[in-house]
């Protein structure tokens, strides 16, 4: 299945794009998206522990199961204020 992935801050710099689509097996967890990004750029590994994930604009745990056409966002440490 395909999910849309939005990237911000350092994650956007590492990916080189602010949005992408990843193809993952049906029933995959949100973490699978991070593993796909790591496969594309191994430098993502160093950041993995500090990246949070959101699905359809809600924070989720890495084990959250995805559905087709979900919007997954990769959220590096936030720094508003």
């Amino acid at each position: 299945m395909k999910v849309r992935v939005k990237l911000f801050s350092i994650a956007k710099d590492l990916a080189g794009v602010d949005e992408t689509v990843v193809e993952i097996p049906s029933g995959s967890s949100a973490e699978t998206v991070l593993d796909q990004l790591i496969a594309r750029n191994p430098r993502f590994v160093d950041w993995k522990p500090s990246l949070r994930l959101a699905v359809n604009q809600e924070y989720v745990r890495n084990g959250h199961l995805l559905s087709e056409n979900d919007e997954v966002a990769v959220i590096p440490p936030v720094s508003g204020g």
Binding site: K6, F8, S9, I10, D13, S50, A54, Q57, E58, Y59, A73, I75, P76, P77, V78, S79, G80, G81
Partner: protein, 145 residues
Amino acid sequence: MVKITDSAINIEKLLVQVTKPESGAVNVFIGTTRNHSHGRKVTGLEYEAYMPMALKTLQELEQDAKARWGLHDVAIVHRVGKVHVGEASVFIAVSSAHRDEAYQASRFLIDQLKQVVPIWKREFFEDGTVEWSLQAHEQKTEIEA
């Protein structure tokens, strides 16, 4: 009211909006952009937001604070895009019958904003380097904005 904007924050207008006839206290927090970061000189800043989620999380914080402290009104405004040194990057105003609720709600809102709202700051340094500010998780106990 929550808002994310790329223009200067109109502080006086927001204050008038938040102040209600039944209010006895209005607490305002303004986060301004510093000219230094970890000992290095900062010449400019830029913020980006995951807009729909940032607005949603701000609205949730607003509702939480209203319910918890019985506030009369709340205004939270955050800048995105370029922000000059010394300008307000975030504005939070809360009104309530008495000052305790206003102080507590204001502190809660800025602390939570810095933890959960998907907004990121990029600092432009004097030496020409540009870096994302990524220390947010270690700054949990700081009151700086």
